[in-house]
Symmetry: C2
Subunit: 433 residues, 2 copies
Amino acid sequence: MEPCDLLVIHASELCTLAGGPRTGAALGRIGIVADGGVAIAGDRIAAVGPSPGLLARYRPRRVLDAANCLVTPGFVDAHTHPVFAATREAEFEMRVQGRTYQEIAAAGGGIRSSVRAVRAASEDDLVASTRRRLDLFLAHGTTTVEAKSGYGLSLADETKSLRAIQKAAAGHPVRVVPTFLGAHEFPDEYRDRREDYVRLLCDEMIPAVARDRLAVYADVFCEKGVFEVPESRRVLEAARDHGLRLRLHADEFVDSGAAALAAELRADSADHLMAVSDRGIDALGSAGTAAVLLPGTSFFLALSRFAPARRLVDAGLTVALGTDFNPGSNMTCSMPMILTIACLYLKLTPAEALTAATINAARSLRLESEVGSLEAGKRADLVIFDAPNHRFLPYHYGVNLVRAVVAAGRVVVDDRVRTASNPGSPSSESREP
Amino acid sequence: MEPCDLLVIHASELCTLAGGPRTGAALGRIGIVADGGVAIAGDRIAAVGPSPGLLARYRPRRVLDAANCLVTPGFVDAHTHPVFAATREAEFEMRVQGRTYQEIAAAGGGIRSSVRAVRAASEDDLVASTRRRLDLFLAHGTTTVEAKSGYGLSLADETKSLRAIQKAAAGHPVRVVPTFLGAHEFPDEYRDRREDYVRLLCDEMIPAVARDRLAVYADVFCEKGVFEVPESRRVLEAARDHGLRLRLHADEFVDSGAAALAAELRADSADHLMAVSDRGIDALGSAGTAAVLLPGTSFFLALSRFAPARRLVDAGLTVALGTDFNPGSNMTCSMPMILTIACLYLKLTPAEALTAATINAARSLRLESEVGSLEAGKRADLVIFDAPNHRFLPYHYGVNLVRAVVAAGRVVVDDRVRTASNPGSPSSESREP
């Protein structure tokens, strides 16, 4: 008998997602093991397979019984904006009353209102609120999060935001991949001198971010009226020249040729893609750029348009999912909620959606050899759901089915104690006066 | 100083919903009190108002500090189907792959598959699963639930289902209003003799249900291909003659004149109404029949059609909301999730949606003097949310913002202990082997 630290056993269905990212007809092959289990040593997976074999082989220090439960890899959220200082529920009401997201932005709301709030916030406050949001991600089964800056839009406020991500992530169970998104919008003070802001991005902000190792990725909101394709190209090339990897907000509302730009620059991901053209799809396919779809945003903006997921799958792209968690266009950090929306409105099957939210999302972050599947040697990130099978996960929606989360080998969320999922919650204090 | 048992204080926003059901332009008037509180004596509300006044007046045995939190009445869910024995996630996948709900039903799935499972289930099993579902409702802030039978479709199995509701509700914090829905579908054995089933409903099942006081309401799935209007009328008239109050599944997929029938029979509610005609709306208005809207079902069936909520509001109807929780066409018991969908797709404001899910839903159950608002003398049902205001509730979706629930004066859900919200959860057992 070999020793191990933790043995998860008796999952009614365990989805390994082993074998690397999937495309095309293989997208829905999720590696189902009945009565499955995972043996964990330290922060790594030692073995995955049927429970009887694991029980015969390992002498664990601790056992998590997953009977009647689904076990999956921890979710990988490929696109989030978690560093903000104020929520924007008033804009939610304005949209319900008929104003569009673009109209609200033009009136000084939207991203620019978040910029004002972040600039006014202290770094410590941003660290605290970002950390609470990481707790929420974790409570809903996400163990790896791509996290963008982008509500600072000045050298000081973008680096403050990226430091807040770094500090919030330090020692946190969620693995965080930071992305510099100084090109999220033109700040008010540069509205009439766009060229100056592009130069600030390329000549000052990107070099500073790269020098201080504040980000792994750079991203640009490439969209008509925001960063046009030529501006986006300059920013991305500067980022690449400084050693940052590339992602791109591409063709969200109109087809501006952003997907082709992402492909041309060999970006790791092109995100949103609601309006992508066939030519853009072809280019992404040739470049090996992952398509990160964010259907929660279409839902939250009450749009009838969703990304053409099936065409992207059929074109052989690596299709991934993200929440797009942000205070304006999608206020949720629940990946199970995104799975439901992806099934209903992108017409991904539950298995395809699970692949997109785990190993394929990991691929979009170049972390496919580290996270996103349950395989020996990988980081021991997994979720135990109160669900008999993977179809149940998007099916039973609006409730949190997570029963336990293991991150880097540690049990960090447990239904019965709720350590990480209900951080603090000082508000429901009960006391004798 | 007067004694009281429980004092909830310092809500950043307390919505009383006082003053009775609302219609038209008043729908969104939710009675906001800043720094609000509620004094509770026994199972009743003693007083509602600003915290300083309550603190000066009452000497409470226990205090719940709701600082930085939203406090609302407990939700009233006006339409649910919680008594079933098997979930139907395989059908969810079939729908994603392009089959319609109607096609799945025609192939032996849908309601009929639930009927087979309920008939095979023991009453004890139904009691246990229904009770777990009531726990879930409660965990998401719902303290009153209308609960339908309708997956038995025989005298024995319908009464078994209604007894299961009764037993599950006994001693449970959620107040349950049982509805007999034997006319949910024609069972397989009566498929070629519909007249015989209508007679069984009218002559045997309804009298038995009324005699044993197993239901307050009777309901019929009045829809083309299910119960036609003349059949529905006969069933509803028989129910009325036996002292049952009336609700009606009306004009969900096509306009069959069901709304007019509900109005003609002075039903307390007409539900769904996605396809309701202007004539139907006028009739409901004249009759005082509440319109119970179920937008989660449109979402879960990925339909582009939602009920014409604004027209119903403008026509002066009492617009209410329900989850329609059921294993086929809407697998959620989260009213906050329904609020989000109602705002985004029915274009109700957050305040209007809150009214519809509380006092107006209570009105549709003739319980408006007992629940649905925070007013002295009413049942002390309230929810404390981790939200700064009521707009935040539909805005931050896919997560459970409930911090505490008080039902009939008792603190039955508390974030820190999670008594009722995580019933049992034997599945995430952790032990030393």
